[in-house]
Structures are given as structure tokens and as C-alpha cells.
Point group: C2
Chain length 713, copies 2
Amino acid sequence: MSHRLNPLLQPRSIAMIGASNNSGRIGGMPLDLLRHFRYAGDVYPINPKYEEVFGYRCYPDVEALPQAPDLAVLAIAAEDVTSMLERCHARGIRAAIVYAAGFAEAGSAGVELQARLEQFAQRTGMVIAGPNCMGFANINTHAYTAFAAVFKNVPVQTQCGRASIITQSGNVCSAVFALIRKLGIPVSHFINTGNEAVVEFSEYLEYMAQDDATECVIGYVEQLRNGPRFIHAALALAAQKKPLIIYKAGETDKGSEAVRSHTSALAGDLALYKAGFAQLNVIRGNDFAQMADLAYLSGYRHRAGGSRVAIVTMSGALGAILADKMIGAGLQVPTLSDDLQRTLRDGIPDYGMVSNPVDVTGNVVNSPEFVRTIFQALGETDQVDTVIVYAPGYLLDRMAEPLVEMAGRYSKLFVAIDTGAAQCRERLSGAGIPVFDDIGRATQALAPFCQWMARHEQVAHWARLRAGGGSPVPGAAATTAACVAPRLNEHQTKQLLAPYGVTFLPGMSAGNAAEAVAAAAQIGYPVVLKILSADILHKTEVGGVRLHLADEAQLRQACDAMLESVARQAPQARIDGFLVQPMATGGVAELIAGVTHDPVFGPALTVGLGGVLTEIYQDASHRLLPVDEGMVRDMLHELTAWPLLDGFRGRPIADVDACCQTIAALSDAQQALGPHVTDIEINPIQVRAQGHGAWGLDALVLFTPQETQGDKP
Amino acid sequence: MSHRLNPLLQPRSIAMIGASNNSGRIGGMPLDLLRHFRYAGDVYPINPKYEEVFGYRCYPDVEALPQAPDLAVLAIAAEDVTSMLERCHARGIRAAIVYAAGFAEAGSAGVELQARLEQFAQRTGMVIAGPNCMGFANINTHAYTAFAAVFKNVPVQTQCGRASIITQSGNVCSAVFALIRKLGIPVSHFINTGNEAVVEFSEYLEYMAQDDATECVIGYVEQLRNGPRFIHAALALAAQKKPLIIYKAGETDKGSEAVRSHTSALAGDLALYKAGFAQLNVIRGNDFAQMADLAYLSGYRHRAGGSRVAIVTMSGALGAILADKMIGAGLQVPTLSDDLQRTLRDGIPDYGMVSNPVDVTGNVVNSPEFVRTIFQALGETDQVDTVIVYAPGYLLDRMAEPLVEMAGRYSKLFVAIDTGAAQCRERLSGAGIPVFDDIGRATQALAPFCQWMARHEQVAHWARLRAGGGSPVPGAAATTAACVAPRLNEHQTKQLLAPYGVTFLPGMSAGNAAEAVAAAAQIGYPVVLKILSADILHKTEVGGVRLHLADEAQLRQACDAMLESVARQAPQARIDGFLVQPMATGGVAELIAGVTHDPVFGPALTVGLGGVLTEIYQDASHRLLPVDEGMVRDMLHELTAWPLLDGFRGRPIADVDACCQTIAALSDAQQALGPHVTDIEINPIQVRAQGHGAWGLDALVLFTPQETQGDKP
């Protein structure tokens, strides 16, 4: 495979600049490892002080090398890095790893140093990893360029690697690597990306999507520096069905504070990270052991599991515990059909359970033929995707034979949990059945893995939608010109959005009170009066909204009072007149929907229930754009408040179809209006009873500051 | 120690009825274990088929025994149990363990059998464990009466036990025991309680509160059968600072379904379980490994830890991860004071962190004197209660010396996490510093343990409050008579509750429309009109509430319409007239508060925000009674919606004092009115701005059916 990162990740020859003969120092440790693990390529220590280091001939400087190596590793101080890279470049070296700290993570002088490094890379095209990194290890080719003590402390790896580890922290890389190796899972790449001045996290991910020796990636990020590239890489891995497991640091303010101080990274908006990860089928790591277990499960990635699980035990208590834990972790434990229960009941005594969890009772172990029938029935049914078998020690051994047989016959995911010391473990593992020895760890890894399996179609759907760039919208082109306007008042905003399919409560603009009265006569009382001004974002706060106006007298009075109040509280605002709307009543619920521009992931949609309590309960759903109506429906279903739309306590069922259509239209609008639109918000959306529609009552569009700068009042 | 359970838990002699010479059978396995572990007491196998079993002389029947043993273990079928117990009783045996299944867990015939067993025990005073249980093990005296294969598969125990395990499931008992022994923690008692026909879970707990060989109890329950006794036992353990860790099965519908089928137990209301456990300082187990880790931590129960933690690492990333995890698990990671930060900064380089998490950076390891200063500063400060040190392998070794010194000097809890292979582990453990080797496991156990440490004073406060039986309420005695009334209408209910300190919006009762008009004239319009009837619980649903009545005409019309509507929709109801109230406006928030009678824990208080969304978001706080105003304040703070009372987004701050007073008065009312009051509810409570009070707008009191049965219309 040809790739720009090859010299970094599969170097055929390595120079170590600042070589040391002390394996405890960063210039010595990698040389010691290369020697210890018998790296087959050429190794060139560079240090004028030595003739030979760790058995390798040592050179005084890069110019003296007999050939240009694939990779130079710089174990020298930050201030010497760029000039040394110049010399490497002159010598024909195309890739380098920079260990040194003291760059962007270390204040303004370091930021300057890093900018120089970036400029150098841009000018020369040199591929540079780091700075402020621990280096790499290709365990398969024994190309160790990392100064990490962990490699000699784990079991020696004899098989070809399967998992790759990419982290923004060297300590995390070592800790996760140790746990994965402890489980006996062979590793391909150990990558600590550091400050990512030149080669950024997602570029490594793209490499792994193509790498035959990588079937899953374990990552740790504090900050994603290139969101679009990350989306591309995650979709590429998803297309290959290679699990991507990422621990995102900075889940709390304290955590992100620590991250910020450490690597000068800014932890992005967590809610959107979570939503984006789910949408891209990235598994969120939450514990190093869980990540190692997910690397183990990745060996079973081609099985056809999913989130509906059957639980088979020989203990009612353990069935209850497993069901609680699996459901708590987000899986479903569906009650089996009557037919299927009858099949199971034929061999399970009355005091056992057949509904799911299935408690076969201890007796069944004496009847292997019946155990076979159970696994066959659960293998065959389309009511569950995954079958989890819990039995300690010899009880699991008794079930091993039929389990292996059925895992061979059905592509469904079968999983075993043995808290004893069953002898069949290796046999099961080898036959496509992962085995866990702890219920908690099994749950923590299985739940996200089963959800990952269940999401293949969903992520493929979004990839297609994204590739298609959304559906063409009639009339859109004609209105695109409007978006170069400096700011829009509410009426203009609605006119801008309506062609994309956003439904609004009809209203009329009026230049003055007389026109407002005429409009109201046409609309019919009671009406709502709003001030019309592109300069006022929050109308209510300046007395710019009046509800329930019952007749002409009230309307005229409201016009006068409103102009007076607005003039007093927003004296700078240019007033375009009034907006007159019918008084909208009879809504089942009010929603808020908005497109924002996330600094990492780009345009994203947020949907929530309107009002103050939603903010308090943080009940909102997010998606990266584009979305279609089906995705909006999923978002509404995700809301804790969903029952309010679905007939909660005898309320009418809401017109969810109309609601989805109006919200999905925001996605089309954003796609058509382009990146200089930063925010689109409809708030509130009044959702009426089924068949009676949903409409926006107010709307807002914001443009990038550059567009409006010149036009500020 | 003298205790009724001694013959079960510390038997000096054991008879095995239904003895077998096969160690794979339930009548043989315990005998094999007694022999294997060299139990010093007398062992009497009973089976007419054998002369000798496992080297013990075998007897044909209980009557042939040379003495009455402390304990008889019955390995015989369910239907033979009671008659055999009669014979044991006749022989002078005072305690028995019944293995047999086929009792209450197995349908109506079994329920009958169990009832007979219970009657027998009541009549004779015999102490009977089970039925449907696996038996016990006293690891210290080697009194093995359990048929469990686990005992020979774990490391041999040489120290005196410290942890006791009590579970309602034999499989769970074995699984937890294995994990605890794997950690090297010595166990005292292994107890599987089974159906608890005679000796119930909480009686074992009471025993453990007194047992010198038990410093923590690990439990598993599907159902608590005696709530008051559980409360007593939990408080006794709390008073001894012995952690009580309980896994409660049935957290989800699926889980409780499995539990119900298995042991015929009914999983109680989970929210109240959680609240009750917290109030009694019971640690909720959520994973077997976590429970084993908590048993380990219990060895450090006398240290003065708490929930405000300092995190010390040599890696910013790991500091961020630990902070995220600890905060996510419910602990606080407070920012250290400027003074303290300055002290730390003296030795920590710029790129390290001093605010908490404290990132000492790798360099500091070279300066042991400074590490000492850090631990001294964190040991001395009252800003944190617990100090968590993370460093892998040799890095932790470098810090061990000052860590041990400071743990000796300060009683604060110091904890170490080593994901490498530090040599200092045993040294630290022995010096009062628990050591974990996994961040996830450390978090899962440490968080609840630190919270347990932080709650000592709180649980002691409640124990005193409970012992005092609440404060005497003036006027209460006089009204107690009212509670024997069949049912009360709203006006009577309010009159019943007011003397205890519940504030209500003043209102006047009226026998007819004319009286209502007179009342309104006194109160002042606008008013609210409600129907007055003890037979109507939900007034709104029958048209029995009218708001915003502006004048006499509207009021008269409302009276007529209301009588008509109520007569039509609740024809059976006896109507006492009307209630006229002022129209209450200007509330900051509406709360709901109610006393209910939980089938397990007895009277309990629930407080939540009023309205439909609170139900959807399940935002409520619960306490067992009695409560005082301070506890009610804690409950309000626990609500996610608390900010609404606390000036959220510029709203006025609510009169929380008045609110707490009115709600706490419900506790006094319940205490005074006694157990035949099952429900007291005030809904809504209108909370006004600070200084303007809080008052109930409506109230309800329900009595036990027995009291009202005879008076039903």
C-alpha cells in the first residue's frame, strides 16, 4: 500500500538524531528496542560523541549517512528542531518524528516555534509527526521509534497485529497498549500523535482504513483538529466494518481544564461529540479496560450481531442481573414470542424461565441434546440478534459442544461469560464465540459493540445522503442571493426559508399602525403583533411582542406602546414596521430546532422541546448535517420528552410528519445557503394534533461576521 | 457473643441429614468440605445406608445421635422437610438449614409447604435457614454447610476473616466470594438466605453489626421482606462504621420479571430503594468486581476520607481522565485555593498543573523532597478529603516514601493507582493506602466509598431524629381524633394538616352559591371555586374546579355549572358544598410533596416540581420519614429543577425556607396521625419569591382501607 505516512509507519531505515547509549534516555531507548526486537531495516544512530551505539554504527551527523533513511527521529531540544529538519530535508529524508516538548503546548514562544515548524513542512512537503510526542511502534516490522518502557513489559507478540492504537497522549498510549497485550490481542501500530503540527489524528485514521494489518482502531483524543477529515476517515473505517473506538477526554469542566492546560487543546462541545460519534458509528471508549475488550471483540466484527439480546443462564438471579445491566447499557432484551417460549419450555422445568432472560436451570446441563435445541432456536429466530450465555466453569463446559455447533451454523453473535474456570474458553474463542470472565466488563464492551453492529445500515445511509449533498430544492437557487443581505428581519427570514419547505404560521408585514390594522382585519382577531427589525434578536426583551390582541383598539394601542418601548430600549435599531400574525392556539407541544456551526464538525442540527425546563433537563438531540425526515424522526424519538408528542396521558398525538418535514427543511436550507450562514433557528415550532400540521412561529438566520461587518449600524 | 443465629453461623456440631458419600451431591459436598478444611466440631452424617461417610461415623437417624447437635442440615426433599424438623426438634436440635427447593418459589403447593414450615418454626422457636438455599460457610471456624464448589477453587485463607457475604441467590454468593478471595481479602461468613421463611435477610445483618470478625457486609437482595428491621440493621452497621454494600436486583422491568419468576420476590419501588439506601448509608453495589473492591476498601474504613478529592498525576491526560471519571461518578474535584496552588507551583514546572487535577509532570519524580511537600500540603488542607495518586510502575515507587510518611501523619484517605507493576504496592497497602491497578475499577469503588465516608454525620443525624420520633407539635393531639373520620373533603383535610405547620392559601367553605358569593365578597375577586366532596379525588376531571372568576355573576354561573357537571359525572358523590379561594398568582414555581406508605420501607416523603414534564423527566427526591427542614432542603437541592428555585435566568429567588417548613410539617403530621394514614399529598405548593411564603393550594389525605371500609357509600 502506497501512502504518504509509509515512511513514518513502515520505515525501511531509521536515523536517530541525538542518539544515546543509555537505554533510560529518550535517544537510547528506541535504539535498544530496535536491537532487542531485531528490526530488519537499517538503523543509523547520529551523535558525534559515539562510534557505536547498541551495536549500531554511529554517525557524526546526517550529512555523513551512507544513504537517506526513510525516517529521521529527532531526540533533540525544541529550539534546534527546525534547523535540523532543514538539514534532514537537504539530505533527502522525507519523514521525521519530533519528540521535543516546548511547542504550542508551552506558551507563546512555543507557539512561534510550532508555527515555524508548520511553515517548514508546508514549504518542503516533509511528513512530520509530533512535536511533543513519544513516537511510534510498528509491532509487525519491529520498527520501534517510541521511547516507551512498556514494550519489554508485555507478553511477546508472535502473531501478526490486528489492532492499532492512536492517541494524543503518550501515557495513555502505553497504558492502553499494555492492557490490550495483556489480553493477548496482537497490535499493529502504536502511535502517539503529540501536538499534530503537521500530521493530524485523522490522517492516521485514514491510513488505518486502508491498512490490512488493522481491523480496529483504539484512539484517545483531547481535541479533533480537522473535523471534516475525521468524518471522512470514520466513514472509511465504517465502510470497512473496522470498529473505531475513541476515548474523548474533557467530559467535565475539570477534565477539559486539565486537557487545555496540558496540550493547549480545546475540548469541543461534548453533546455534539457524542452525537457525531454515534452518527459516524464511532464507539465511545470510557475506560482503558473496556477499550481493550472492544479490541478483543473486534475480532468478531464480521458476525451478524445487534442490539436485541437473548440471555441464557442457569440462575434466575444472574439472568436478572444480566438483563438489568444490558438494558442499563442501552441494549434490548425482548420478550420471546409464545411459539419460541413453547419450544424452550419443552425442556426447561417450570421453575426455570423461557421468556428472556432464559433460565435453563442447573438440570438442563444434564441434557446436552436439549441445550442444543435451545441454541438452535435462539440462533434461528429473528427476534434476537445476539445470544449471551452465562454459566460458570464446568457448567459452561457442558454447553460448549452445542454452542460451537450453532455458532458455526448461524452468523448471529454468540457470546459466553464464564466467571469460573471453564476449559472450553479457547475452543469457544476460536469458534467465533468471544468469552468474558466478568459480567461488568462483558456488559461495558458488549453493549457498545452490539450497538455498533446494529448501526451499519444507518451510517451507510448517512454516508449516501452526505455524498448526494441533500436533495435539490425547487426555488432555492432564486433565493440564494438573499443570503448576502446584511441581516434579515423576521419577515425576510421566513421568506428566505419557506422555499426549502419550512412551514410558517402565515403573517403579514405592516409599515405602520394603519397597515397593521388592515392586516389584522384580513387575518381575523385575535392577533399577535411583533416589531419588525433586523437589529433586534430578542424581541420580547424590548417589549416587541404582544399576544392576544382582541380588537382594533387593542391593536392600535399595542402599536403605539411597542414603538415607544422599542425606541427606549433599543434606540439604535432600524425599525422596518410590524408583523401581524393570527394568535396560534391549540398546539400539542412546542419544539425548538436550529442549525449551528460546530467548530469541529461543521454544520449540525439541534432539536429539543421548547421552554425553560428543557434547558434545565438538557433534553435535546443533535445530528451532523445533512439530515432527512427519517433522521429527524429518530431525533424526536431520542428526546426524553418524546411521549408528549405521542399521546402522553390522553393528550392528542402530534403531527410528527409535518414536524419532521419542517425541521428537515432546515438541513436543505443550510446546504443551499452555504457556509456563510452560521445559525438558523426556528423557535418555537408549534406542533398541532395529527393531520393539523406544524409551523414555525418565529425564525432567525445569522451570517458569518465577515459578511455583515461592513454593514453594521 | 450470644445470638439466636449462633447455632447457624457458629455451630459447634453439625448433623447432615440425607448424607451422601459422593462429594458431587448436595448431601456429600459439605461433608467433604468439613473434612477437607478440618472443621474442629462434631460432624454427624445421617443416612441408614452408610456406616461411615468421608471418614465420619454415619448414623441411621437423628434419634440415634449421641448428642443433640447445634445444627441440622437437611439435604432431603421438600415434602419430607417439616416432619423431619419435628423429629429434630424432638431430639433437642434448635437450628436447621433447609436446602430443598419446591417451596414458595414453586407455585401454590410450595406456598402451602412453606406456610407449614413457618407455622412449625413459630410454634417451636426453631431457627431455620432457607428453604431453597445453598447453606452457609463460616470460613474462620471451617463450619461449611454449603453445597458450593467454589471453596476449593479459591486461594486458601490463613488470616481471620473481615468481610461477610449475605445473598438471596446461591450463584451470586459463590461468584462474589470467588472475586473477594481472588483479591486476597479474608472472608468470615458465606450466607445464602434462600426463601427466608423464618430467618430473614435483615436478621443476618443485625448479627453482623455485632460480629467482631465482620468489618463489612456484601449483600445481594431481590426483595427485602422486613423493611423496619432492615432500617434498624443498616443503622446499627452505620453506627459501627461497617460498610454495608448491597446489590439490588430488578433495576429494570426485565430484571424484576426474572427475579419474580425465580424466587417469587417482588422487587420494590426502585426510586425509593435508592433513596432509602442513600439515607441509611448503604452502598449500592452495581457489579461483582466493584463489590469485591469495596470489601477491599472497607479495610480503610476508619480513615477520614470524603467526597472532595485531589488528583495527583504525572500526566495531564490521565489527570483529565481521572477528573472526568471521578466527577462522573459523583465526587467533587475542587479547584485549590491560590495559596495552595502557589505552594505546589514552587516545585511544579509551568507546563504542569496545580489547580487540581495536579499534574506534577515526570520531572518531579526526580525530586522526592518536593513530592513530600505536595503530599504534605494536600494532607494538611481542609479543601480536600481524599488524595488520589496515579502513577504507573516505577514512577509510583519513587513517590512511595513521602506517600507513606504523609498517610501516617494525616488521617485523610490517600489512594494509589498503579497501572504498571510498582514494587511498593504491598508497602502502601500496609501503610493505610489502598492500591488499585485499574482506573475504571478504582473509580467504581472509590466514588461510593468516599460518599459513604462523607455521609457518616448525615446518617447519625437521621438516626437521632428517628429515635426522637420527630418534634412534638402543639395542637396535634387535639386533631388526632379527626383521623378516624372515614374520608375528608379538601377543607377538612386542610384543617387536619394546618396545626402541624402546613401553610395553605386561605379559603372559605360555602354550603351553597349564596354562601359562596358572600365568601368571595370577603376574600375579594378574582376567586377560584372548587367542589367540596370527600368522594371526589380528582376534582378537575369532573368539572369541579373553576379559575379566574372575576365577579359575582361569573361566580354564580360557575356554581350552577359545577353542580350540574359534578352531578352528571360523579352521581354517587356526596357534595358538601364549595370552597372559595383567592386566585393565587405570582408564584416562582409549583412543587408537589407527598407522604406515601412504601410496602418495604414504610412512610416516605416525595418532593418534585409540579406539572407534566417532571413526571416525564422523573425528577423527584425521596426520603424515609421522619424528615426535618434541613433534610427537605437537601431534597430540593437534589432536584435537577433546583435552579428554578434559585434564580435561574433572572427569575426571582424562591422562598425556600417557607417551602421547607411546609413540607417538613407533612412529616410531623404523618408521625402524629399514625400508620392508618397511608397518603398525604399537597399539590400544588405554590412557592413565591423570597420573603413571600409558600402555600399549599390543594391537599389530600388517604386512610387505610380497613378504617374506611365500613363507611363506603
